[in-house]
C-alpha cells in the first residue's frame, strides 16, 4: 500500500479518536468550564446534609449554576460546612437561601438556591446564612408514624370502652 494512503487512513483514525474523546468530554461528561478564574466560592452551613455528595449540582430555578466543591464538619458548631463553587456570571444577594433537595423520591440530592431581594451581593468567600437541611426520609417517616400510632391508640381505647 502507498505511503500517502496509509498516512490518510492514520490521519482519519487519529481524528476520529480525538472526536470520540471530545464527544465523551462534552456530551457525556458535560464538561463545564470550572477553572478557578471562572468560578467563585461561597460557603453554607447546614444542620444535616443527608446524602449530599461532592460534585453535586447547585441549581437556581432548576438551572445548574455550580457544583459542591467540598463538605466538611465544623468542629465548633458541629454543623456541616459545604463549599459551593459557583459560576462567575451568576451572583446572589445577601439574603439568598440554600436548601438541600432531592431529585425525585429516591434521586440524587442537590442544593437549591433561592435568590433574595437584598440589593447587596454576596462576595466570594462569604456565607449563605439562610439554609434548610436535607429532608431525611427516616426522620420524616418516624414523625409520621408517631402521630399515626398516637391517633390509633385513641381509637382503640374508645373502642374498648
Amino acid at each position: 500500500m502507498k505511503r500517502s494512503t496509509i498516512d490518510l487512513w492514520v490521519g482519519l483514525f487519529v481524528a476520529i479518536g480525538i472526536a470520540a474523546v471530545v464527544f465523551l468530554s462534552l456530551k457525556v461528561a458535560n464538561l463545564t468550564p470550572q477553572s478557578a478564574d471562572q468560578t467563585y466560592t461561597l460557603y453554607a452551613d447546614f444542620d444535616n446534609i443527608g446524602g449530599l455528595k461532592v460534585k453535586a449540582p447547585i441549581k437556581e430555578a432548576g438551572v445548574v449554576v455550580g457544583r459542591v466543591a467540598a463538605i466538611q464538619l465544623d468542629t465548633k458548631t458541629y454543623r456541616a460546612r459545604v463549599t459551593l463553587n459557583l459560576e462567575k456570571q451568576y451572583t446572589f444577594s445577601r439574603d439568598a437561601s440554600a436548601e438541600i433537595l432531592t431529585a425525585g423520591l429516591l434521586g440524587e440530592q442537590y442544593i437549591g438556591l433561592l435568590q433574595g431581594g437584598d440589593p447587596d451581593e454576596l462576595k466570594p468567600g462569604e456565607h449563605i446564612t439562610l439554609t434548610s437541611s436535607a429532608l431525611v426520609l427516616e426522620q420524616l417517616i418516624g414523625k409520621f408514624m408517631t402521630s399515626f400510632t398516637g391517633g390509633n391508640n385513641k381509637n382503640s381505647a374508645s373502642a374498648a370502652q
Binding site: 496509509i6 482519519l12 483514525f13 479518536g17 464527544f23 456530551k27
Partner: protein
C-alpha cells in the same frame, strides 16, 4: 519415594526461576525500547505505518463490539433498573460501565487478539527467517527499527480505540434505551451528564487504556522477539501473547481500579 516429593518441588522452583528471569528480561527489553525510541520516533513514518496495521485495522472489530456491548448494557440495564423504578438512570449506567471498565478492558482484549497476536507473529517470523539478523548485520538495530515503532503504535492506538469503543457503546445504549424502549432522550443524556465526571470517569478511563496499551504491546513485541525461531515456536508465542495479555489486562485493571476509584 523422596523423588516423588522432590520432583514437583523442583518443577515449582524451575518455573519460579523461569518466571523471574522472564520478568527481568522483559524489563530490560522495555528499557531497550525506550532507549532506542528517540531514533525511531524521529522517523515517525515507521510508527505511522504500524499505527495503520495495529490501530486502523482494529477499528472495525472494536466499533462493532462496542455497539453490541452498549446494546446489551441497554437491555440488561433497563431490565434491572426498571425493577427499582429508576429506568431513567440508564444513560448513567451505560456510560459509567463503559467509561470506567468495559471500554478500556474489552478494547484492550480485542486489541491484543487482533493486533497483538499479529505483531508477535510478524516479529517472530522475521526472526525465524533471519530478517532481524540481517538487519543487525546491516548495522541497523532491530529494536529501534522493528520493535520500537510497533510499541509506540500500540501505545498510541489503544486509547483511541477505547474512546471509539466507548462512543459506540453509548450509542448502542442510546439505540436500545431511547429508540427501542422509548425512554426520554433528554433524561437519558442529562442523567448521564450529571453522573459522569470528566476527570474521575473519562480521563481515568483513558489512563487505564493507555496502561493497557503499554502492557499489551510490550507483551506482544516481547513474545515475538523472544520466540523460538521455528514455525512451532512462533505459533506458541502467538498463543502466549493472547493468553498472557488477557491475564495481565485483568490484573492491571484490578490494581488500577483499586487506586483510581
Amino acid at each position: 519415594m523422596t523423588e516423588l516429593l522432590l520432583s514437583p518441588l523442583r518443577r515449582l522452583g524451575h518455573s519460579t526461576i523461569n518466571a523471574i528471569w522472564r520478568l527481568g528480561f522483559i524489563t530490560r527489553f522495555l528499557l531497550a525500547i525506550l532507549r532506542y525510541s528517540g531514533q525511531s520516533l524521529l522517523r515517525f513514518n515507521l510508527t505511522i505505518r504500524e499505527i495503520y496495521f495495529a490501530g486502523v485495522m482494529s477499528v472495525i472489530i472494536v466499533v462493532v463490539s462496542g455497539l453490541f456491548v452498549g446494546m446489551v448494557l441497554g437491555l440488561q440495564g433497563y431490565n434491572t433498573l426498571s425493577r427499582f423504578g429508576s429506568a431513567d438512570a440508564l444513560g448513567a449506567l451505560v456510560a459509567l460501565s463503559l467509561l470506567r471498565e468495559l471500554g478500556p478492558v474489552l478494547a484492550a482484549l480485542l486489541f491484543s487478539s487482533r493486533a497483538g497476536s499479529a505483531m508477535t507473529a510478524e516479529i517472530g517470523l522475521m526472526k525465524a527467517t533471519e530478517q532481524l539478523d540481517a538487519m543487525s548485520v546491516m548495522a541497523v538495530n532491530p529494536i529501534a527499527r522493528v520493535v520500537a515503532p510497533r510499541f509506540w503504535a500500540g501505545v498510541i492506538s489503544m486509547p483511541i480505540l477505547a474512546a471509539m469503543f466507548n462512543v459506540m457503546g453509548i450509542f448502542g445504549g442510546y439505540l436500545i434505551g431511547v429508540v427501542m424502549i422509548g425512554l426520554d432522550s433528554g433524561t437519558f443524556w442529562s442523567q448521564m451528564q450529571n453522573n459522569v465526571d470528566l476527570h474521575y470517569d473519562v480521563i481515568n478511563g483513558l489512563i487505564k487504556s493507555l496502561c493497557f496499551g503499554i502492557v499489551v504491546t510490550l507483551i506482544a513485541v516481547f513474545e515475538g522477539y523472544d520466540a523460538t525461531p521455528t514455525a512451532a515456536g512462533v505459533s506458541a508465542a502467538t498463543t502466549r501473547t493472547v493468553v498472557t495479555s488477557a491475564l495481565v489486562i485483568l490484573a492491571v485493571d484490578f490494581v488500577l481500579t483499586a487506586f483510581m476509584f
